[in-house]
């Protein structure tokens, strides 16, 4: 509608007035647009903690903590939070993005590869972009995108047709557009990229299609590809022997959630998804490296420093694509991950050695551990033609929604899903670009309905300090702030503020649709906002 009106307006002006009208619009725009000023340098990304008013990358910082030092909204006043503005993408399907905020401008993505820049104080759009997608893309699990990365005067977007593109942060114009891979092979891109130095690092989705997963790095200035790391090793490479016959060619292991970065050792940490076909281990005997793994890579070269594999030879779709969060305990430099397979893992960041693994949700697929302390799959947990009931179910004990680590409470907060499924299996021929599950899963007939919880975990011990129960499993991530708060959402549409120390609810707002995203926070002119997406809307909240 708006476009039509604008068209009529311009036509009425007549062609001769078009140029002057355009100039006038530019002048008006320049007046109203917040001063977008300083470019986002690589140094600013390293020092993101110095500017808590901004949210410069997917997880808020390189450590993946999704923690903000802002404290204007705190335990004493959170009950007074009110909605400030909403922005609607007007699109169906799941809206999963975490927006960025840079110096007063909010950059976000929506369904079907929409991208937008808004005045973060008012929610009014500065530019809006939507990619023309081919009709035959078939991304698994929704036409979603989780966000952008920023460097200099560009924002970077991975697309459902497996391109990586750079948009002009001022206009939304496409500055470069490169094909990562042919989408017709079953590939898509849904994650927010990670910028390290001058490189845009990104992975792919497609574990449901028998792809061969990889992680790429592109020159932020030109889009030239600098390196590719295949998450399924080819002939002659270490790890290739963990695949039976030619199964490596369709081995999956997609990297579809944004990694983290340790500047002190110049190491980037990425996680990978399930081996393909997801529900059938027959035909791919072996550990299936590097599926369901944590990878430590050199960001300059893409060279593998070490790896840790969570569930080996997985048959339950237990992607390890949860943000690997960095934490230091004294001299120990560690990574925490609450994994889709139901275990909380603590891993040494220098060596990749497991410190311990402990369940944070109901687990039946494993009841023993190997010498390193890693869980071993039970033989009778394998999918059968008629189905085997296994916990967690295929959606996992958690999933891509972000956890958070609060350095003040020193607790790790994660969304847990208590849902078991019946996993069945059947032989399936591989056909390029077609779904390749080796069967499926479906809800079990348990008398009790599925539930969920936000759980606060002590990283040193894996002890659950408190939990906040959800009536049904949610797909919302978690944000923690220096105000002593954690924010999360639920499947029933509530956005909730809890006391980080105790799990006591202080405030909630009914958004009108399930929250399928991870919240973030920012500040403008000294006023703190909290943002979350639900339904097809982005909501912001602040004190009155």
């Amino acid at each position: 509608m708006a476009r039509n009106n604008k068209g009529r307006f311009l036509a009425a002006l007549g062609m001769t007035h078009l140029v002057s009208a355009t100039l006038m619009l530019f002048a008006i725009a320049a007046y109203f647009v917040p001063s977008a000023s300083a470019q986002v340098t690589a140094q600013r990304l390293l020092d993101s903690a110095k500017e808590p008013q901004n949210w410069l990358m997917y997880s808020g910082d390189y450590a993946g903590r999704r923690f903000s030092a802002l404290e204007q909204i705190n335990t004493s006043n959170a009950a007074a939070l009110v909605p400030k503005w909403a922005y609607q993408t007007m699109a169906g399907g799941k809206f999963e993005a975490t927006p960025l905020v840079v110096d007063g401008i909010l950059y976000g993505t929506g369904q079907d590869n929409r991208a937008f820049a808004l005045d973060a104080k008012s929610g009014r759009p500065i530019w809006q972009y939507q990619r023309a997608l081919p009709a035959d893309i078939r991304p698994c699990c929704g036409r979603v995108n989780r966000g952008l990365a920023v460097l200099g005067d560009k924002v970077f977007l991975g697309t459902l047709d497996s391109h990586v593109i750079a948009l002009d942060a001022k206009t939304g114009n496409v500055l470069w557009d490169v094909t990562a891979v042919d989408y017709r092979g079953g590939y898509s891109i849904t994650l927010a990229p990670l910028v390290i130095k001058n490189l845009v690092i990104i992975g792919v989705s497609g574990g449901e299609y028998g792809i061969r997963g990889f992680i790429d790095a592109y020159d932020a200035a030109t889009g030239d590809r600098k390196w590719r790391f295949y998450t399924v090793p080819g002939p002659g490479e270490p790890g290739h022997e963990t695949w039976e016959g030619d199964s490596w060619k369709t081995g999956g292991a997609p990297a579809w959630i944004t990694g983290t970065y340790d500047p002190s050792t110049d190491t980037t940490f990425w996680t990978t998804g399930n081996p393909s076909p997801s529900n059938r281990g027959e035909g791919r005997a072996g550990d299936n490296l590097y599926s369901n793994s944590l990878l430590a890579l050199d960001p300059e070269t893409g060279k593998l420093k070490w790896y840790f594999q969570f569930s080996k030879h997985d048959e339950h779709d237990y992607d390890a694509t949860q943000v690997p969060v960095m934490v230091d305990q004294g001299e120990k430099h560690l990574i925490m991950q609450a994994n889709r397979d139901g275990f909380f893992y603590l891993i040494d960041r220098a060596s990749g050695k497991l410190i311990y693994a402990k369940p944070f949700a109901k687990v039946t697929w494993s009841d023993s551990k190997d010498a390193s302390g890693a869980p071993i799959a039970r033989k009778d947990a394998s999918p059968t033609p008629d189905g085997t009931r296994v916990c967690p179910g295929a959606a996992g004990a958690t999933n891509w929604m972000s956890p958070t680590y609060d350095p003040q409470t020193q607790l790790f907060y994660v969304t847990a899903r208590e849902q078991c499924d019946i996993f069945s299996t059947a032989p399936q021929p591989y056909e390029r670009g077609h779904a390749y599950y080796g069967s499926a899963y479906f809800p079990n007939d348990d008398a009790a309905p599925f539930t969920g919880a936000l759980r606060a975990i002590e990283p040193g011990t894996g002890t659950i300090k408190w939990e906040w129960k959800h009536p049904s499993p949610t797909w919302s991530g978690v944000l923690s702030t220096a105000g002593g708060l954690v924010f999360t959402g639920d499947a029933e549409g509530n956005f909730i503020a809890l006391e980080a120390a105790s799990g006591k609810a202080l405030w909630h707002f009914q958004c009108g649709a399930s929250v399928y995203s991870s919240p973030m926070t920012f500040a403008i002119e000294g006023k703190q906002y909290v943002a979350v997406v639900a339904g097809s809307s982005l909501f912001t909240f602040a004190l009155p």
């Binding site: 078939r138 991304p139 189905g387 849902q419 059947a426 779904a435 479906f442 009790a448 949610t474």
Partner: protein
């Protein structure tokens, strides 16, 4: 939103002769597409009819895209109808099935192809393979009952008391599921079991996807702060509130932390009808009535 076919045709009629020419051109294009054999959507018949290999491929697609609701073997699940029934509620021809799968059924839990958020969506070819699979598991003869449907209707609306809670074609109560379509969506065995053992498969809410169709018939009993007791079924529930319908069909919204007690149970409010309450013969009559209504 796209206009419906009807409104679009009406629009075209108003436009006059020029539009009729475009009909002819469109017709020619359609024919050439069909001759080319590439535009499967335009076909009314399954190109893979009775093709066992296609049915096998269709089974993979079914497991990935459909089994979550319709169950393994298409025998029906928590919310999806039993598809082994020859008579389908939304049309039984190949073209009907294609349309139902591709476009979904508005107003029900059946989403359009690719929008289930569960599987990955299907090509036209794969939809036809699924239809081949469904045909391969269909029972040749549709469900029948030897019962007396007219007597079943009397029982349903009268002495058996079914209509106190269940609605059929707009008549009856609303605390239990509307049974207008149950006769076409479920097997006879399932219907019998639901009467004899109603708690065995209390309609299972399937997490977030069910939120729009949230009536799960979970039994709830609350006691308010002043000691008033209400029993009924859950309509909506979140962490903070409970919306329920009591046995008199009154709606209530409670803030949970203000209640004296709240108890939920997967035991159905419906009594288990034993032989004394409903003989086998009478039950057959009620089932015959449900089948008759379902076929309408």
């Amino acid at each position: 939103m796209m206009p419906s076919w009807n409104s679009r045709n009406q629009l075209f009629r108003k436009e006059g002769r020029l539009i009729r020419w475009s009909y002819v051109l469109a017709g020619c294009a359609l024919i050439s597409f069909c001759i080319g054999g590439t535009w499967l959507l335009a076909q009314d018949k399954n190109p893979f009819a009775r093709d066992a290999k296609a049915a096998k491929l269709g089974e993979f697609q079914f497991r990935a895209n459909c089994a979550f609701c319709h169950g393994l073997g298409a025998r029906g699940g928590g919310r999806g109808p039993d598809l082994t029934r020859a008579q389908k509620r939304h049309g039984s021809s190949d073209a009907d099935l294609f349309r139902t799968i591709n476009e979904g059924v508005p107003g029900t839990a059946m989403p359009p192809n690719g929008a289930t958020q569960q599987g990955v969506g299907m090509t036209d070819e794969e939809i036809w393979q699924v239809i081949s699979y469904i045909r391969s598991v269909e029972k040749k003869a549709d469900a029948t009952s030897t019962g007396n449907a007219a007597h079943g209707k009397e029982l349903f609306q009268g002495t058996a008391g079914c209509s106190t809670c269940h609605m059929i074609q707009g008549k009856g109560g609303r605390i239990g599921p509307d049974l207008s379509t149950a006769g076409s969506a479920r097997s006879t065995e399932y219907l019998v079991e639901s009467v004899r053992m109603p708690s065995k498969r209390l309609a299972q809410g399937i997490s977030e996807a069910m939120k729009e169709f949230s009536q799960e018939y979970e039994t709830v009993t609350v006691v308010t702060a002043d000691g008033t007791k209400f029993m009924g079924v859950v309509l909506n529930e979140d962490h903070f509130t409970l919306q329920m319908m009591d046995t008199r069909e009154n709606l209530h919204l409670f803030e949970k932390d203000k209640l004296k007690s709240l108890e939920k149970s997967r035991e159905s409010l419906m009594p288990a009808y034993d032989q004394k309450m409903l003989s086998d013969k009478d039950l057959q009559d009620v089932v015959a009535y449900l089948l008759l209504v379902g076929a309408q």
